[in-house]
Symmetry: D2
Subunit: 163 residues, 4 copies
């Protein structure tokens, strides 16, 4: 079974810099040989990270909130159509061996929460998840780095640790 | 249709003071004539708030992660058995007209996130949900109070505002 | 915790006779002191059974596919807003101590399937679920009766048997 | 985006002949260039169809009821861990462009129901889904064939029709 790395983050329009970061993270994940999994929509971090991974020849799985692919990113290989709206955030978290979260808001934070509840390592890139999750940071399950490159190193270390 | 107020918070063993707070909140919700909805389990804020509401003659609906009632609080009137594990946090959030959240960690925070995404008013009692949700606080959708009594006033105001 | 009896069946426009049957079933469930649970929408068996139960003073819980109550039956006491579309059929089945199914099609049949998978007794009123479920019929877990009155007797017997 | 063909069927121990049929169906799907999607577990039609597809070099996605991969088939490429138990049957159905169902019972039938509700073509191989779904058969959305080879032809025709 292939290793799956989840990429979460803002769903809306990104700044040029955030777009570039998400795309680069996607490319790095593909280059590492991991499957990239995200929320599958045609905007924000979802679309940009999918594009980056696909351009580097990676496999991209999008877990859509929708029952169809009308709003799916064109850069997916496989569209999982859950039909359960934002409830799919739970599936995103569980289906990722490790979760990398770019800055986001309530949706992204819900995915961080579910990944932590499920025992997954979560790597935040350049943002802070707040005091309610401090305990996970102390345990080393919730990490913060500043760049996509550092997040990939953190993923690699987590995967090695978890065997 | 009756107004449903969700009560979320830590699922584990509570301090005597946190237990009393959750129980009092449950009682206040019942006295206001609202249905109390929570996660339905037999521990933490779920059990204490259910007990408080039932002792005051209120109606209590527990939305369980489980497929059965083996781990349900004995203080429920109706047990919704979702079978979708922590995915039921999404259902908890949507099914509450307003959400009151006592201190908790990842599970509680996921419910706060989903309620905000769905446009519900969320009232935090004595804790802080962190910077990722600051925008909702600025919009007045995410409030912080210090006591159950204040949270009930905030719920009342939100319900009046939303008609 | 109160006993919950699920009522499933066609969601579309009903014949006058089917409408009367669903309404009568709702009334009988309320008169037996059970909570009526159904899919919560404002049409078909959902609306008619809810109306019957409410007119008899019963408690009605609707488990909606929606994230809001715009399409809810006006005869619900409590609206569980799942937001998971037809995925809520799974929740309907698990949340019912016993399931009574009036004639329906794919949606109703999915609820029958899930209830059987979860070990619940299912009572079909005037229809047949087909050969794929024959094994459950042989085991006595899937029953067929012809009237609402008979279905209530079958529910009573199942509840007595299951303690 | 790649075409996804779902394969459903009994989860328990299979006869040698049923095992061979499921494996052959998996191989044919892979040879057609389609992604095979199934319920992901290490038994029954799930495991056999995954094995057949993998041996032919296909891509296999398993949508597990579980939150982890402990009970996953070893023949998956990607494991979607839903954590929503049998609720994942809904995701299986929606995520398949066309569904092929080998003989099964309540679980398989629930997937057939959900696929039909979502407008997908369903191809039954050697069994009958019963009178409650007769309307779908009349509309040509629910088909019956006798062999894996015929089911692949039916899938091809459905995909061509749906563009």
């Amino acid at each position: 079974m292939r290793t799956v790395v989840g990429v979460m983050g803002a769903g809306g329009v990104l700044s040029a810099s955030a777009e570039e970061t998400a795309c680069r993270l996607g490319r790095l994940i593909a280059e590492a040989g991991w499957v990239l999994l995200n929320g599958g929509r045609d905007g924000g971090v979802m679309d940009a990270s999918a594009r980056g991974a696909r351009e580097a020849g990676g496999l991209v799985v999008g877990v859509l909130p929708d029952a169809d692919t009308r709003r799916a990113s064109p850069h997916l290989d496989v569209a999982i159509r859950t039909g359960i709206a934002d409830g799919r955030n739970y599936v995103n978290a569980l289906s990722s061996d490790v979760l990398v979260a770019l800055p986001g808001r309530a949706g992204t934070l819900s995915e961080v929460c579910f990944a932590l509840l499920a025992g997954r390592t979560v790597v935040l890139v350049g943002w802070d998840a707040g005091p309610a999750l401090a305990e996970y940071a102390e345990l080393g399950q919730l990490l913060r780095v500043e760049t996509p490159e550092e997040s990939v190193e953190a993923v690699r270390a987590a995967l090695a640790r978890e065997g």
